[in-house]
Every structure is written in C-alpha cells, then in structure tokens.
Symmetry: D2
Subunit: 164 residues, 4 copies
C-alpha cells in the first residue's frame, strides 16, 4: 500500500443530497474516515460489485469512526439517470448511506466532484482519512480483502490519533 | 419436477421490441424452447440474479433450439423506467437477447403480458416448450442447477419430437 | 448437447462400499438416472467444486428417479488416501450419497472403474441414463447450469419412458 | 474492532516444519505482522474458506511486512491426518506459506500450540502484531472485508512504528 503524498480532499460539489436529513461536508466529517463511492445507477460494475461492497462497508464499519457516502456522478445518459430515477434506485437497492448528486455545470458532461477528484469512471472509490486527506483512489472492481486493508489502515491511524 | 396440466402460453402483448430486428411472436417461435425472463430495470433481484442467469442461458443454450426473451414488465415507478432508460440498460448490461416492452393499458398499473401469465412480480421466469405450452413458472431467484434441469427437460422433449 | 452413440456403462469394480447399507450395482440401478462422481479426497478441484455440486445434485434430485454415487478413484498418493481416511472425509464433508472405493488391481496405479470409463482424472462426472448407458462424461469443473441441463435431459427421457 | 489487552503471543510448539527451508520462531518474526492460520486438512470449513483466504492474504500482503503461517493443529482423527498426508495436501492445494505441525504431547488429543492459544477448533486465525502480541483471534469463517481491516490495522501500526 502506497500512501505517498496525500493531498487534501476537494470539498464535494453537490446539487442535492438524498437519503439523509442533513447536507454533509468534508469539513464536518473531519475526524472520521470517509468512504466516497462514486457510481451511476445504470452501470453494471456498480450494481453488481461497487454498491454491494459499499453497503457492506457501511454495515460493518459505519458509525462514529467511518462514514460511507454515495456519489451519483453521471457522465453519460444524463437524460435517464435523473434524480427521480435515483430516488427509486436508492429505495429499491436499500442503500443505507447518504447519496450526493454530483453537480453538473453548464457545458460539461463530467460533473464537478468527479472532475475535482480526477475520477476515470464508475465505480470509483476514494478513501479520505480523519484529517481530510485523499489516501486511496480506485477505479473499477477491488477485492474485499484489499479494500478492507485500506480501511483498516485508516481506522488504525484514527485510533492512534485519539490516544496521542 | 411437476409439469402437470400445461396450458398454451398466452401470446405476448408488447408495445415495442428492442434489441432485435424483428418482432417475435410465440406462434413463430413454435418448435423452439422459449425462456421468457420478466424483469424491471431497477429491481435488484433482477440485476443481481435474474439478468445474469438469463444472459448465461442465452450464451450456453441460445440458438436453433432455444430462444431467450427479456420482458420488461414495469408495474411500479413507470415514470422512470421508460423505454429511453431501458435502451441504455440493455446497452450497458450488454443483453444478448431481444427485449419486449410489456404493454400497459389505460387504467392499470400491471402490464398485460404480466397479467396474462399471472406473474407475481419480478424477476419471473417462464419456460415454454416447443409446442407453445407453459411448462415452468418461477417468481424470484432459482438456482442454476434447477433452472438448468428444467431447460434440459424441455430440450430433451424437443429432441425426441424430431426423431419421431 | 451431443449424446451420440451412447454405450452401455461398464459395471463398477469396487473394493468396498461406504456410507450405504447395501452394495450397489448398475444392473440394480436400471430405471434410475445415475450420477457417478469420481473424486480423490485430497484433490482441491474435487473438494472446492465437484463434491459441493454432487451434494447439491443429490439434495435436489436424489430419490426414486436419480441416484448420486461417489467413486473414490485414487490414482496417486495411494498411501495416504486410504479407506480409513476416506471414512473421516465422508463424515466431515457430510456426504449424503453412497461412496464406492474404486478397485486397484496389482501392478497398476489406475483403479479399474476409472480405467473402464477412460476417465482422465478427478473430478470426473459421468451421467448414466435409465437404460444403463453412458450419456455424458466430463473431466474437471462444469457449471451448474450445464450440469443441470444434462440431468434434466435424462430425467425427461425417464419420465417419457414411463408414460409410453 | 476491539484490540484491548493484547498479550504476548505464545511461541509455537512445533514437531516439524513443512514447505519451508528454515524453522520459524515468533522471536525471529518480530517486526512483521504474522497471520497464523490453524487448520486440519480434512476440515471442510478449512478447505472451502480458511485455506483459500489464507492463500489470498499471502499473495496480496505476504513479504517483508507480513508472514502467513499455516498451523496443522490436529485434534481428532490423528491416525489419518499424518505428516505424510499433509505433505500431499500442501502440494495439491499449492500452499504458498510455511506450515508448522502443531506438537502433540503424550496423553492429550489437543496439540500444544492450539492449547496455548486457547483455540476452540479449526479453522482459527490469529493475528500477531509486529511487537509479537496477539491482536485478533477468530474461530470459524470471517469475511474478507473484516479480515482485511484487521490486517490493515496492524500494517498501519507497523508503518507508523518505522516512521517514529
């Protein structure tokens, strides 16, 4: 695991939040490990692998130390992956975590948060440590064993920071 | 396996055909085993289990003896599971078989083919033998071993019919 | 599925039967579909794929129409894959079907039933129809969907034979 | 993850080492994370889940920072799970890590290392940190995500210790 040169995670650019009572910001999440899972609702790599893994991460590790956030980063077929459709998706797939709708600015097909994080596509998973720094970034499928190790790594740092 | 009292399969009531150059009818499919796979594009039981199984059935058995047909039977959230969205779904999930859009008549939420086959929900799989009779009907997930056996059963009858 | 030129299945050559109260013969099994699953207890392809599949076949289809038979065909490391060890294996893996110990004759490393069926290794699965003929023969892993179809095929023939 | 009251890991009591050129001791492994995987070669929970997971851990994390060690802790059927049989098992299952044969003392069915670690059965996995302390102990199956997190946790501590 190479965690060299961590950089501060860019703040989310979000047009709306779903599946949560309050808007989230990275600043307010400081002190927690954040698992940012970028997906598109009609991407099979997301529904078959990424989303089930994100749900399991939330179930096992979600709470005071870790927050999973779904990021709906639509960069194609915008006309059918609407917020209305996303709400149905969240409900049917029983997503247990907040979902941010990545903000699309005029004249671009790539939404802003996706661009800021330089994501190559969906699914993409970004791990942000308790200090708000990007520590892991992966496009595509990744094994549970490896994902678990990256998460455990950051949780250990969080624990260590509290005992200092 | 209990194949008692097979009844003639109702003809499809379809508003449009996708992923095929020609409209299909059960009458024209007589002589083949037909695997009718009813799904909704935002149903997780479909994307996670039903659709992958239907794709594998098509890959292994599809051809002169067997035809897989997808049936998009929307009975909820009609406003987001549109034909436009379905076209993206078919493309992204690389469905290798024709997809019929189940016909929705005025004043009903349940589309007509779904109603004619008395399906309880999605995913539902119906097996129709080479004589056009319903021989197996299943709502929900079913193991590959059992699905394979039902298919093998009907393929054997087809083979036997040719040698008589 | 190509079931050309079926030949009569050679009778088992067995040094002892385990996990059953009575010795089985193909002659006595006539009228049933027989799934002959050849394995070695220390073969990973067997423990990871073949044995779980054979157990599931027995659970789903075993009974008046179908009989699963395990065949311990040791062709290497004979000194450690003994009957004593096999009894422990059968117990620990909770095999629900009779297990025949393939007979090893003097001067050969390949046991007799394995040789008679011209098996290439383990796991090997042989399907024998209700008339006692070899109808399918596979070395290595095979998908549940395909295995199910082969079984369904033979069960259909059995059903047809009874209604004639 | 509760890592309270870590205690020094008891040294292995081993009758022989297999699959390695040198005997290993915990003292010499100080500075590495050690994954101790206790198994019995005829235990299905081991061959189906524990051993594949231990192999994957070794493949992904094995090296300067982490050492997987197999521990053959036979507590039943000693007469068939011999070293001779174990050698075949190691070879057939292509185990990529050293295997210690847990030492059986006179008059006991439970081997000594198993007893010292108070293992309840097989498979059992024990994680020992770079300071030689038991930090995780699990009997039975555990998900890759959770196992990965425990490993990542200890690897993070190892990394932190080097940068201090």
């Amino acid at each position: 695991m190479n965690y060299s040169t961590p950089s501060t995670a860019p703040e989310f650019s979000v047009s709306s939040w779903l599946n949560t009572n309050e808007d989230l910001t990275l600043v307010n999440l400081r002190g927690k490990v954040v698992v940012l899972h970028a997906f598109q609702m009609l991407c099979p790599g997301c529904t078959l692998h990424g989303i089930p893994q994100a749900k399991e991460i939330s179930r096992v590790f979600g709470g005071n130390n870790l927050q999973v956030i779904g990021l709906h980063s639509v960069f194609e077929h915008h006309e059918v992956m609407t917020n209305k459709a996303l709400k149905v998706f969240i409900d049917e797939y029983r997503l247990p975590f907040p979902v941010a709708v990545d903000n699309l600015h005029q004249g671009s097909k790539i939404p802003e948060t996706m661009e800021a994080y330089e994501m190559q596509g969906t699914p993409s998973t970004v791990l942000i440590d308790h200090l708000g720094r990007v520590r892991f970034h992966h496009f595509g499928q990744i094994s549970d064993l490896q994902m678990g190790a990256h998460i455990g790594n950051l949780l250990a740092e969080l624990t260590a920071s509290r005992s200092n």
